[in-house]
């Protein structure tokens, strides 16, 4: 399937928006405006954006701690994301969750997770609902290479497979779990081989190729609805440290630079221009839009009220 101009535009814009979101967020950190931590996905934008863009609202996703690209891919509102990042009442979690817990049930995001592999059982359950209720939608479950070593990975893929649940397990393999290279955390090169343990299909893709990811996700959705779960591994890289404080002694500058040359956004941009789908100017204009959108988001967030301690017991229990 060839992507339409509209679809390409969406991919490019969302990736750019995500990059801008995080670069701005990083500056807010440095400016001392944020308490807490954040995990940036700069360099990995193609994964969440490529997978989530072809989904419908009724398709669910579960996000990771490194999930801004996933949220933006699923059409979350950057104003509310930024407000949550700054801990404001208007944020997605009313300032109570922070960016490790952004969620937007209205667009189908069942939330980011602070626990590595914490989203896998949840996604399995969401897919169980979809199957049980006879919906023709799927759940996409994001997790990292490090998460693939947790027991929750094994149990969730196995359960989903036994029950043929419509869940697409997406492993964003950025080669590291915090500081630990996958060659120290698993004795295999290609994580997708693990699919065989569950008798399901596994594929590995270039995680910086947003177009292929988009196309393969569409196919995967059909596959998963018909046959049950599938494991899709997206091989990519994070450019920045694991979280705000990371001296990155565990990898070389060269390695990082090599991957920077494979920037998913630049790659897509080059493709759009090569194929004459967009002009440089059009893409620059899209970028400006994204920059403005994030500026507005910061303004929105900064002008939003702080949550009040008087509401602290709200939402501990539902009525």
């Amino acid at each position: 399937m060839k992507l339409s101009k509209e679809q390409h535009k969406e991919l490019f814009y969302k990736m750019t928006l995500c990059r801008e979101f995080e670069e701005t967020a990083a500056k807010l950190f440095i400016a001392g405006k944020v308490h807490g931590t954040a995990h940036f996905c700069i360099g990995e934008e193609a994964t969440g954006v490529g997978v989530c863009s072809p989904l419908e609202v009724e398709d669910y996703i579960t996000q990771t701690h490194r999930g801004h690209n996933q949220g933006i891919g699923k059409n979350m509102d950057v104003n509310r994301m930024m407000a949550e990042f700054l801990g404001k009442q208007t944020g997605y979690c009313k300032g109570k969750g922070g960016c490790m817990h952004i969620a937007d049930f209205s667009v189908g995001s069942l939330g980011a997770n602070g626990v590595v592999a914490g989203g896998l059982p949840i996604a399995t359950g969401a897919a169980l609902s979809q199957q049980y209720l006879g919906k023709k939608n799927i759940t996409v479950c994001f997790f990292g290479d490090g998460a693939a070593n947790e027991g929750a990975f094994h149990e969730s893929l196995n359960l989903a497979s036994v029950w043929k649940l419509p869940v697409l397990f997406v492993c964003t393999n950025n080669l590291y779990g915090m500081s630990t290279h996958i060659n120290k955390s698993m004795n295999i090169e290609d994580i997708s081989v693990r699919a065989a343990s569950y008798g399901i299909k596994g594929i590995a893709l270039d995680g910086n190729d947003v177009v292929t990811i988009y196309q393969e996700t569409l196919k995967a959705k059909e596959y998963v609805l018909e046959h049950g779960p599938m494991l899709m591994v997206l091989n990519t890289y994070r450019w920045t440290g694991h979280s705000k404080s990371d001296a990155q002694l565990y990898r070389t500058k060269e390695e990082v630079n090599q991957w920077k040359e494979r920037c998913p956004i630049k790659r897509h941009r080059d493709l759009l221009i090569d194929q004459k789908l967009f002009t440089e100017e059009e893409l620059d204009e899209l970028k400006r839009e994204a920059v403005q959108k994030i500026k507005d988001a910061v303004a929105f967030a900064e002008n939003s009220p702080e949550p009040s301690i008087d509401d602290i017991f709200d939402d501990v229990y539902a009525l």
């Binding site: 997605y92 009313k94 817990h101 939330g111 626990v115 896998l120 359950g125 939402d315």
Partner: protein, 326 residues
């Protein structure tokens, strides 16, 4: 009224609720044809089929999280953990996800699920199959915790738990499964609101606060003391969270003497919470004696039946504790 067992009462509660609401489903290890390790769900697979009554692989973490995920997206799952000792494998999903998702997502999620699991010793199943771990889950905001002591309470409380929009940990008592008690006819729908203690026996000289399997023992002791002219009130808290603090405090004020009894190890048990609440309430000023706790010994549950019987409160040890307070 007809009499049925505690196990049947639980099965009836699940079945009646499942007939009422199609979105309630039930999953766990060997709960289908096998009927569950304690036979609680016998017949349910035959009635509801394999879509709604699901045998799972041995995978406690996944089924607990799966229930939470399903609960956030339209179902009302009941999950059975075969022995409460295996909650140890499910704590991450129960505590970090199910209990917190509503709060940490700013109210976007509701997680209406029930985790049913049998607790307690007495079956000769030893250290890893006999623990009473309710104190852990009571310490987790976002969870509710129920432990019934009679068939009547079990049925009414489980129905309330299933209708509740929060994750409820419903801890059953292995040694009560075969005990019988009066329960209204099947059609006769009743609910016992979570958060209400039940005075199982009124009294004026001393209050025993307890729950679960220790309730019948406390009643036996109270009955024996009444022969000797001592009037013991026995309060069954039934729901540990939310706790009916008011009921405990007024009883303590009335009798001035409090004994707290539970099977779980005394150190770090929920008895400490209860003692702490009373000691920091106006009841403090009415107390005629120290607040006494009698929990299980701080040892793992041993296999040998004589040892096993003696590491938890017995009629004898409860009697002794009452005497010390009088």
């Amino acid at each position: 009224m007809r009499e049925i067992t505690y196990a049947q009462a639980i099965q009836e509660a699940m079945s009646e609720e499942m007939r009422r609401d199609q979105n309630i489903m039930f999953m766990g290890e060997d709960i289908g044809v096998y009927g569950g390790a304690f036979g609680v769900s016998r017949g349910m697979f035959e009635e509801f089929g394999d879509k709604r009554v699901r045998d799972t692989p041995i995978t406690e973490l996944a089924i607990t999280g799966c229930a939470a995920g399903a609960a956030m997206t339209g179902l009302r799952p009941i999950v059975e953990i075969m022995f409460s000792d295996f909650m140890t494998l499910a704590m991450e999903q129960l505590v970090n996800q199910a209990a917190k998702n509503r709060f940490q997502f700013g109210g976007q999620a509701a997680v209406p699920m029930v985790l049913r699991t049998p607790g307690g010793s007495g079956t000769g199943a030893a250290e890893q199959h006999s623990q009473s771990l309710e104190a852990w889950v009571c310490h987790v905001p976002g969870l509710k915790v129920v432990i019934p002591s009679t068939p009547y309470d079990a049925k009414g409380l489980l129905k309330a738990a299933i209708r509740d929009n929060n994750p409820v940990v419903f801890i059953e008592q292995k040694l009560l499964y075969r005990t019988k008690g009066e329960v209204p006819e099947p059609g006769d729908d009743y609910i016992i609101e979570l958060g209400k203690a039940d005075i199982k026996r009124e009294g004026s000289d001393l209050t025993i606060i307890t729950y679960g399997r220790m309730v019948p023992r406390a009643l036996e002791v109270a009955e024996a003391f009444s022969q000797k002219g001592t009037s013991i009130e026995v309060i069954d808290i039934r729901t540990l969270v939310p706790l009916d603090t008011e009921a405990l405090i007024s009883s303590a004020k009335k009798t001035g003497r409090v004994l707290i009894v539970h099977e779980a190890c005394q150190r770090g048990g929920y008895g400490g919470e209860i003692a702490g609440l009373i000691a920091d309430s106006e009841a403090f000023f009415y107390l005629d004696a120290p607040i006494k706790r009698l929990g299980g010994l701080d040892v793992p549950i041993p296999y040998n039946p004589n040892l096993e019987a003696q590491v938890v409160p017995t009629v004898e040890s409860i009697t002794k504790a009452v005497n010390e307070l009088l």
